[in-house]
C-alpha cells in the first residue's frame, strides 16, 4: 500500500480499518543470496539498497530482538556532516544528501528536519580549529557558516551568552538537523519488505556455518539459514559476534553512551545546539513531541550494559544548566544507555573481511544514526560487488595496520578519546 495524502483521508473517513501491516513476518527460508545480521537502521538500509540498487532481492535481515531496539532506538537523532578528515568527509557528505530525499525515496515520512546544527565557540583557538573544519566542508560542496553573537541570540534566545564560559559565536551547518529515528527504521523495513526482503525478528545468530574456509550460513534459534554472503551490522556487539565467526580481535571496545529526554514542552529550541569546552560535552535538540533530547560523553569505561552510571548523568545536567539555564526546572522523563562500538580512531569501517563470504559494517562510535542511509548504500555496494563504493573506499579495516587512521579528534588509539 502506497502512503499518500489521499490514503490518509480515505482511511480516516473509514475509521482506519483498512491499513495493512507495514511489513510481513515471514518464516525463514532455508537459504538466501545475502543475510544481513542486525535489524537496526544500518542493516535494514543495507537490505533495502541491495534490493533497490543491485537487484539482490533474495535477502534476509536477521534481528535478535525487535527492529530498531538497539542503538537505532537509543540515539539523539542528530544528522550532520561537519567532518573534516578524508574518509569521513566524503562519506558523511554523501549520507546527508541521501537524507534530504529519504522520505520520498522510502514513501515514509522520516521527519527529517534541517533545522541547523549549531556548534558553539568559546575561545579563539576553538574558532580557528572550527574555521579550518568548516572551510574544508565548503571546499567539498557542503554548507557551513559563522554566526556572531547577535545572530546566535536571535535564533536561540535562551542561550546563556555570558556564563562561566562566555560564547563568542558559533559555526553552523544549516542543512543539518534531526530525523525521527523509529520512522527511519520502519521506513527502511517497509520499503525493503516491499522489494521482497524477509525481515526475521526474534531470530538470534548463535553460530556460523563453515565450508572450505568460507562462511556459508548462520545457525539461529530458528534453525540453520544458508547464504552465499553474510553481512554483519551489529554495532555495539560486533566483537562478540566476530568472535563467533572466527574473525579474531578487532580495533573496537564497547562503551556505553547515555541519552536523556525531558517532559514535552512548547516550542523552545528549533536547532541542534552543541557545547564542548575541555571535558564538558553536551548536545541538545527538541523533538517534534516537544521533549528535549540531549546527551554528552561516554561513561568512559568499557561496558556492555545498556544503562549508564551517575557521574556522567550529573555532568550532562551541569552542562545543560551552563548553556541553557532555563532548562533547570524541567522534569526529566527518560534516560537510557546504548552500547557503542568505539573504534581505535573514532571512525567506522565498511569492508570485506579475511573470511570469504563475510562482510563487516562496524565501529560507528556514537555517530551511527546520521550515517544510516550511506552506511546501507555503501555496505550493499560492498557486498553485491565485492568492492567498496567511492564513499567508503577509505573506511577499511586494514587502515590501522597501514597507518592510515581517520582520527577526527586527534585522540590517538584510545577508544574513549573519540
Amino acid at each position: 500500500m502506497r502512503y499518500n495524502a489521499l490514503s490518509v483521508i480515505k482511511n480516516g473517513l473509514r475509521g482506519n480499518i483498512d491499513w495493512t501491516r507495514a511489513w510481513r513476518d515471514p518464516e525463514p527460508k532455508p537459504a538466501y543470496d545475502v543475510i544481513v545480521i542486525g535489524g537496526g537502521g544500518h542493516g535494514l538500509a543495507t537490505a533495502y539498497y541491495l534490493a533497490k540498487n543491485h537487484g539482490v532481492k533474495n535477502v534476509a535481515v536477521i534481528e535478535k530482538g525487535w527492529l530498531g531496539g538497539g542503538n537505532a532506538g537509543r540515539n539523539t537523532t542528530i544528522v550532520r556532516s561537519n567532518y573534516m578528515m578524508p574518509g569521513n568527509r566524503e562519506f558523511y557528505s554523501f549520507s546527508l544528501k541521501l537524507w534530504e530525499d529519504l522520505s520520498h525515496e522510502l514513501n515514509y515520512n522520516v521527519m527529517f528536519s534541517q533545522r541547523a546544527h549549531i556548534n558553539l565557540v568559546f575561545s579563539p583557538a576553538q574558532r580557528d580549529a572550527l574555521a579550518r573544519r568548516y572551510n574544508t566542508m565548503l571546499l567539498d560542496g557542503d554548507d557551513g557558516e559563522w554566526w556572531d553573537r547577535d545572530r546566535l541570540k536571535k535564533r536561540v534566545p535562551h542561550l546563556n551568552m555570558d556564563g562561566r564560559y562566555p560564547i563568542e559565536g558559533a559555526y553552523v551547518q544549516p542543512r543539518a538537523g534531526t530525523a525521527r529515528h523509529d520512522a527511519v527504521n520502519w521506513g527502511y523495513a517497509r520499503a525493503a519488505d516491499a522489494l521482497g526482503v524477509d525481515i526475521l525478528q526474534n531470530t538470534e545468530v548463535t553460530g556460523f556455518v563453515r565450508k572450505a574456509g568460507r562462511i556459508v550460513g548462520v545457525e539461529t534459534n530458528r534453525g540453520e539459514i544458508r547464504a552465499e554472503k553474510i553481512g554483519m551490522a551489529v554495532a555495539g556487539h560486533t566483537s562478540t559476534l566476530a568472535a563467533k565467526a572466527g574473525l579474531g580481535k578487532l580495533p573496537i571496545e564497547s562503551h556505553v553512551l547515555q541519552a536523556y529526554v525531558s517532559e514535552p514542552l512548547k516550542p523552545f529550541l528549533d536547532a541542534v545546539v552543541v557545547f564542548g569546552v575541555g571535558h564538558g560535552h553536551f548536545y541538545i535538540s527538541q523533538s517534534d513531541k516537544g521533549g528535549l533530547v540531549f546527551g554528552g560523553d561516554l561513561d568512559m569505561h568499557n561496558s556492555y550494559a545498556q544503562a549508564g552510571t551517575l557521574p556522567r548523568y550529573t555532568d550532562v545536567m551541569g552542562c545543560a544548566m551552563n548553556i541553557l539555564p532555563a532548562t533547570g526546572r524541567i522534569k526529566l522523563l527518560r534516560q537510557w544507555g546504548g552500547v557503542m562500538d568505539m573504534s581505535m580512531d573514532g571512525s567506522p569501517f565498511i569492508d570485506r573481511t579475511e573470511i570469504p563470504g563475510l562482510y563487516l559494517n562496524a565501529g560507528w562510535c556514537y555517530g551511527g544514526f546520521k550515517a544510516t542511509p550511506a552506511s546501507g548504500w555503501c555496505f550493499a555496494h560492498t557486498i553485491a560487488r565485492d568492492e567498496p563504493h567511492e564513499a567508503n573506499a577509505r573506511l577499511t579495516l586494514s587502515r590501522y595496520r597501514e597507518g592510515r587512521q581517520i582520527d577526527e579528534t586527534g585522540g590517538g588509539p584510545v577508544p574513549n578519546h573519540h
Partner: protein, 94 residues
C-alpha cells in the same frame, strides 16, 4: 555508581577514578616485529564479561590499579596496585 576497593583508600566511588584502559594488553619490546605492535596498539579482546582494566585513583591516592570487573553487570571482583613494586611493598607492610 561503581565502587572500587582501592588498596590504599578503601571502597571509593568510581567518580574519583579515571579509566585508563585494557590491562590485558602487554606491549612488546621496541624491536619486536610490526605485527606485534599492531596487535598491542590497535586490537582488543573486548569481552562481554570479566575484564581486567586500569583505573587511576586520580582524586584519591593517585595510584594506578588493576581492577577486575564484569562489563555487563558492573560487578567488581577486586583491585590491586598496577605497579608490581608497589604491590609487593604493600604485601610487606601487611
Amino acid at each position: 555508581m561503581l565502587r572500587i576497593p582501592c588498596p590504599f583508600c578503601g571502597l571509593r566511588d568510581h567518580a574519583e577514578f579515571d579509566y585508563e584502559g585494557d590491562a590485558t594488553v602487554t606491549y612488546p619490546p621496541l624491536d619486536a616485529p610490526e605485527d606485534a605492535w599492531f596487535e598491542a596498539v590497535f586490537l582488543r579482546e573486548n569481552p562481554r564479561g570479566r575484564h581486567r582494566e586500569y583505573w587511576r585513583h586520580t582524586q584519591g591516592c593517585g595510584a594506578y590499579l588493576i581492577v577486575e570487573r564484569d562489563v555487563t553487570t558492573h560487578e567488581i571482583f577486586g583491585a590491586e596496585l598496577a605497579h608490581p613494586g608497589m604491590a609487593s611493598a604493600m604485601e610487606g607492610a601487611a
